[in-house]
């Protein structure tokens, strides 16, 4: 399997982090789990009627496209040691640019009415350029400063698109056209086309980021992550490495933005509000912010919970529609407290409990969807058992359980300002 041959994981750094077996093995597991899910989606797409359409059209499509955006967060944190909260803004900027360029009227925005592909090119270009500028401004900061500066970017961007009615206003841009081959959302056969598009983009993004992490630039970036002072002394320009990494992440996020606007056919500032910023971060955290594949897995878990948790009757009575965010917040809290490496880095005991809870939730909801209450209860039991089994598998595969935790603590420890030497 190709995934097992790819190297360059953050665990393989000198300085007592360890052999990297853990990261590699959990990655294998995460990838296998997710590929299985994607295969279910593909299977459904080519043989309609076995699973519900909804699973592919909404859940898988959205998981993959948010996975692309979340991957840009994971890339920055895993290889650059930077936690960026501006990635939601980046895909928002791209979606707004596409929206303004391609709408023909009847909507807010410039309504330029250009060809969808021109809009896409413009959106990606604008976002990448903005990413360069923003990355440059933040490039001499690191750790918590970086987190705060990028969060400020994100919230400023939200107010920008809310207030500037020429471009959007709080209502947002609607009726965005997608290229002809994706078709209209009303056409029953078309969602699969979007699904396959998103799938292809996801794979390309994944391979691209893996490739970049092994280029000289990627290796130097990991050096910057681990010891900016030493890298600076060795003659590497720390700030420019951060800047270009941020630019690349903006480019990746802009791809997510294009897919998002094709899926939703609309974009509004609400999407990139603080809520949206935190949603994307939640996905990255659930997946474990140090493992690239975790981005898609985290996005899937989040989207699946969001869509299916209401189908479980006893949960639905407890959580009304809007209270889903409380549940999401609680899950993040539990994850960060119990297993800071996300679901791909679960620790043995607490990890098994968490994973079985998640498994119970996902399977229970899917079961509830398909079979009603009885299915839900059966699903919860199956999910819990499967979760414990999977955690055992992780432990068995991992061997070096502390490896990934070591990386995480390193990231946390470097989260202090002052690691970066002031230039000149």
């Amino acid at each position: 399997m190709i995934l097992t041959r790819l190297r360059g994981d953050p665990g393989e750094t000198p300085g007592g982090v360890g052999s990297g077996d853990y990261a590699r093995n959990t990655r294998k597991l995460a990838a296998a789990l997710f590929v299985a899910l994607v295969l279910v989606g593909v299977f459904q797409a080519i043989t309609p009627g076995v699973f519900r359409h909804y699973f592919v059209d909404v859940v898988m499509t959205r998981s993959l496209l948010f996975g692309v955006a979340a991957a840009s967060i994971v890339f920055l944190s895993a290889f650059g040691g930077m936690i960026s909260l501006a990635q939601t803004l980046m895909y928002g900027v791209c979606a707004f640019t596409v929206g303004n360029a391609v709408t023909t009227g009847g909507s807010k925005g410039l309504n330029l009415g250009w060809n969808p592909w021109v809009g896409v090119a413009l959106g990606i270009g604008v976002t990448t350029a903005l990413g360069f500028v923003m990355g440059l401004i933040a490039s001499r900061s690191s750790g918590l400063y970086y987190l705060m500066i990028t969060l400020a970017y994100g919230v400023i961007g939200f107010y920008f698109f809310g207030q500037v009615t020429v471009l959007s206003g709080f209502g947002g841009v609607n009726q965005v056209r997608a290229p002809a081959f994706i078709g209209e959302p009303t056409d029953a056969t078309n969602p699969e086309r979007l699904f396959f598009t998103v799938l292809v983009v996801s794979v390309v993004v994944y391979l691209l980021l893996r490739y970049v992490s092994r280029t000289p630039f990627g290796l130097a970036l990991q050096g910057v992550r681990d010891d900016p002072v030493r890298m600076n002394s060795l003659g590497f320009n720390v700030a420019m490495h951060r800047t270009w990494a941020f630019t690349l992440a903006a480019f990746i996020a802009s791809l997510g933005g294009v897919l998002y606007v094709w899926e939703q056919r609309a974009i509004s500032p609400t999407t990139i509000s603080l809520v949206g910023i935190l949603n994307l971060l939640i996905m990255a955290i659930i997946g474990g912010v140090l493992v690239l594949e975790g981005a898609w897995l985290g996005a899937f878990i989040y989207i699946a919970l969001e869509n299916y948790v209401r189908n479980v009757v006893f949960l639905n009575n407890w959580i009304e529609e809007a209270r889903f965010r409380t549940l999401a917040g609680a899950i993040v809290l539990v994850l960060v407290l119990a297993c800071p490496d996300g679901v791909v880095g679960l620790r043995k005991v607490r990890g098994a409990v968490t994973l079985s809870l998640i498994g119970a939730a996902v399977w229970g909801t899917v079961g509830g969807l398909q079979e009603g209450d009885r299915g839900a209860i059966a699903g919860v039991i199956v999910g819990a058992v499967a979760g414990i089994g999977a955690a055992g598998l992780v432990g068995w595969l991992a061997g070096h359980r502390d490896t990934a935790r070591g990386v995480w603590s390193r990231l946390l420890a470097t989260g202090r300002p002052g690691q970066v030497p002031a230039r000149n």
């Binding site: 750790g143 500066i149 409380t326």
Partner: protein
Amino acid sequence: MTTVMTGAVNVLLGRRGRHVPWQRAATRLLITAAIVFVLVWIIFLAGNTSNGPAVSAPSDFLKSILNALTISGLYFIVASGFTLVFGLMRTVQMAHGSLFLLAGYFALEYQLDFVGVTATPDRNQVAWADWWLPLVIGVVVVSGLGLFIQQVFLRWNQGQDLRQALITIAISIVLGDQMIQHFGGVAEPITFTHEIHGYVEFIGIRYGIHQFFVIGMALGVGGFLWLLLKKTRTGMVIRAGVDDTPMVQALGINVQKVFAVAFVLGSALAGLGGVIAGSSVTSLSPGVDGQWLLHSLVVVIIGGMGSLGGAAAGSLLYGVVTAFAPAYLPTDYAYYSIIATFVILALVLAMRPYGLFGRPA
């Protein structure tokens, strides 16, 4: 070909000419030019803006200054709590905005209860105690909540900066969602006690008394914090803790107690800011928490983290920008004023990556 590509990569990554004094000089020149241009624009040009040039409309200019001071005062109250917690404990309190909003909501509910109405009361109905008592209740509630958050979630993660930030983010998500459920989505203001209402006239323009009250409160908070930090033993320990926590611990001082005190103080300042801002410049509604988290972030990024003087300078600069941008941008472009926030952030970070008064930790 390879050579060309390698050369290009080297240029892009800045591997050549790392020490370029002219870049720094150019940045300085550019920033100075920008400041001069803004001043000249405000004082002499400023055509087609809502205020007009300061030389021809001095009263509008004064009013903008008063507005700037008011909003700066509020920024300072809120951000000083944020920077205090960060400076001492390296904890980014992402739930700071949630505590701000929660205190406002508590004060609002109790005010409505005390006055005996269900919607915003007429200001003449609001007696002295109908504003001050809810203020105290709001501040006490969020101080308690802050203490709870610190003791239960943050204390045992001390030193793991990023993890603490993620924990407080998760808490802010839960708090924000629960506030929507309990307090609804309708924007509601808190009403000042009737003594604070009213206006004074000066050169034909009316200035709200409440603005002077807010400025006074901010000065009071600043004075209190200065006295606390510089003149008391607790403050001395806090300052020592900012510089070197392990050393303070080694000297036999109970650092955990100091951390708890600082966190409670920070939360109380968020709550105080929430009640005063909710009575003066903003209504309480979902999203206000994020807005004021942004304000705190911008102030401490500009001013430098963990520094009280930095918080004051940052609040002043940011307050001036937020008050002047809409008033002195051409009216057709006034809604671009949010960009001014970004520009000021970019300018400060370009010159000082740690903020005006910040220092590498």
